[in-house]
């Protein structure tokens, strides 16, 4: 008999939620598992670097409660990928703790697998020395020194560690850093669905209802997979997929529209066909899976770059605005001398940026418009230094000097900045940077991942 299997994506990100009715309906209609992605690198390196999860915790718990309740009732597994937003050990622990709380509060009993994807620096250092790490392009320079100075590394797992947890009987799998596609491809491949079908379906499902024609709110998405292709149809009757909306989603957040690189191989969608089979459902077939010679996993790392303090201010005086570049340039010169005099810090010891909204705040150096065109600008004075106290010490020297910095057209003391807040300065906290964009060649796809299974 030809195997068919129904995959359900609860939503695009575990913290954003879904319509409860949609999920309940989809499980009742025979979903074989519920998956959900809980993270991304989109919001920058902070979460990986700091170890803080992205909440809200209550929202995440609400969504997990509904998913677990329905899945346990139906006897199907739940698979969460990239726990806690970055998939490091603290993020995994945070998510596992919520699952345990739910089990206790609701008297649920199930087998929980937690897959740790955080890589100890010593292990990665050995891999580096053995030449197992290869940079992708572009990549930050990773060497023994930067590797040792980094805060945290994770490896992005493919389908294999999740499959191992499922084979061990786990009903709820919480994975650390995990390919979005692997969340949805792991179980179907285990059940005999071909990889080209399972991986392409995973790509369409990973953002939940994002592949519909008009997404009204975050919601579920379902796909039925078979030997030749899959049919994607939103469980919520108010939403609909069209061939265009599904095909377009294959492009989303992907640098190459035809080649989706995953651990273990590449999904080639060049020959994929997208056909409407109703006004809400789309049949997808024809993609290829090309297995790679070597099995690699992507490595992500974050390093501390410093501590940030900022000031937000408005500038409305047209005489300043018409010479804003020169004003900020001469202000910088005066300020650098003051900081050197009073704090004994040379300009190389900190980073001072003037971010000018109304000029090039959004695009920075890539902004083609060179003149301020509006009647006011928003200025962020951005200081990053070696500690929060140093950044907080530098900041008032900058904003107070800038407040009264002279321009030739005005005589007497002027006050150039409109501060919306008192105090004007805000301590933002630590700043991180991504310090690796590398792949790690493995002999065994499960090797760097450690799975703990508990009976709750």
């Amino acid at each position: 008999m030809k195997q068919k299997l129904k995959a359900l994506a609860a939503t695009g990100n575990l913290s954003t939620g879904f319509q409860e009715e949609s999920l309940v309906r989809a499980v009742q209609e025979g979903a074989n598992f519920v998956g959900c992605d809980a993270g991304t690198t989109d919001s920058g390196p902070y979460y990986l670097g700091s170890g803080n999860p992205r909440g809200p915790r209550e929202g995440t718990k609400r969504n997990l409660r509904i998913m677990l309740r329905e899945a346990l009732r139906a006897g199907i597994p739940v698979i969460i990928g990239t726990a806690g937003h970055a998939g490091g050990r603290p993020h995994l622990d945070w998510t596992v703790e919520i699952c345990k709380e739910l089990a206790l509060e609701n008297k649920w009993h199930f087998k929980l697998a937690a897959i740790d994807s955080e890589i100890n620096k010593e292990d990665l250092l050995h891999a580096f020395r053995r030449g197992e790490l290869t940079p992708l392009r572009p990549a930050p320079d990773l060497n023994e020194r930067t590797l040792q100075q980094a805060e945290r590394f994770v490896a992005m797992m493919g389908i294999e560690p999740i499959q191992a947890a499922l084979k061990a009987g786990a009903q709820v799998v919480v994975a650390g850093r995990c390919s979005d596609v692997a969340i949805y491809a792991a179980l179907p491949v285990l059940k005999g669905i071909p990889k080209h079908v399972a991986f392409h379906a995973g790509k369409i499902l990973e953002c939940g209802a994002a592949s519909v024609a008009r997404r009204l709110y975050p919601d579920c998405m379902a796909a039925e997979l078979d030997q030749d292709g899959f049919t994607v149809e939103p469980p919520n009757p108010a939403l609909r997929c069209t061939p265009q909306s599904v095909a377009a989603h294959t492009l989303y957040e992907n640098a190459d529209p035809y080649r989706l690189v995953e651990s273990g191989g590449v999904v080639d969608t060049t020959a994929a066909r997208y056909e409407a089979i109703s006004d809400r459902a789309v049949r997808v077939s024809g993609s290829q899976f090309v297995a790679s010679e070597k099995y690699t996993v992507r490595i992500e790392g974050a390093a501390l770059a410093g501590y940030r303090s900022i000031v937000v201010a408005g500038i409305r005086d047209p005489l300043i605005l018409r010479q804003l570049d020169e004003f900020l340039r001469s202000l910088r010169t005066v300020v650098e001398r003051k900081i050197e005099d009073s704090l004994k810090l040379p300009s190389g010891a900190y980073t001072l940026s003037f971010r000018v909204y109304g000029c090039n705040g959004s695009l920075g150096q890539l902004e083609p418009v060179s003149q301020v065109e509006g009647h006011e600008v928003g200025l962020i004075i951005d200081v990053v230094a070696s500690s929060q106290s140093v950044a907080a010490d530098i900041l008032p020297l900058v904003w107070h000097t800038g407040l009264h910095h002279p321009i030739p057209e005005q005589e007497g003391l002027i006050s150039n900045f409109a501060f919306p807040f008192s105090p004007p300065g805000i301590d933002v906290g630590p700043v991180y940077r991504f310090c690796a964009n590398h792949v790690w060649q493995l002999n065994n796809p499960c090797e760097p991942f450690r799975t703990t299974i508990e009976d709750l």
Partner: protein, 102 residues
């Protein structure tokens, strides 16, 4: 002269991971698609110039079936780095929207 947005139903930018930016330009219909493609205004060269990079760094995909052009370039400043201005990369398409089409 018209501007690019008058031919499209979607112009967006987004991170493709923290180290690359990707732009999706979806046209309203085949006429709009043909008109812009024939104008020659949208190419790896014009994108390289607009985004201050080399044409060899620009990956330029024409997806006729979807009436879509997809473009990917490396980020000059990685997402969330100290001097980054757009962590999600969601506003880098701004200069494309009013690009003149002759």
């Amino acid at each position: 002269m018209k501007e690019l947005w008058e031919f499209t139903k979607l112009i967006r930018s987004k991170n493709a991971g923290p180290f690359e930016l990707t732009f999706d330009i979806m046209f309203k219909d085949a006429d709009c698609f043909d008109q812009v493609m024939k104008s020659g205004g949208l190419s790896a060269e014009t994108i390289a110039k607009l985004y201050k990079t080399e044409p060899s760094q620009v990956r330029f995909f024409v997806i006729k079936q979807l009436l879509t052009v997809k473009i990917s370039i490396p980020r000059r400043v990685f997402s969330g780095d100290m001097r980054d201005t757009d962590v999600y990369g969601g506003q880098f398409h701004g200069p494309l929207v009013r690009m003149p089409v002759e």
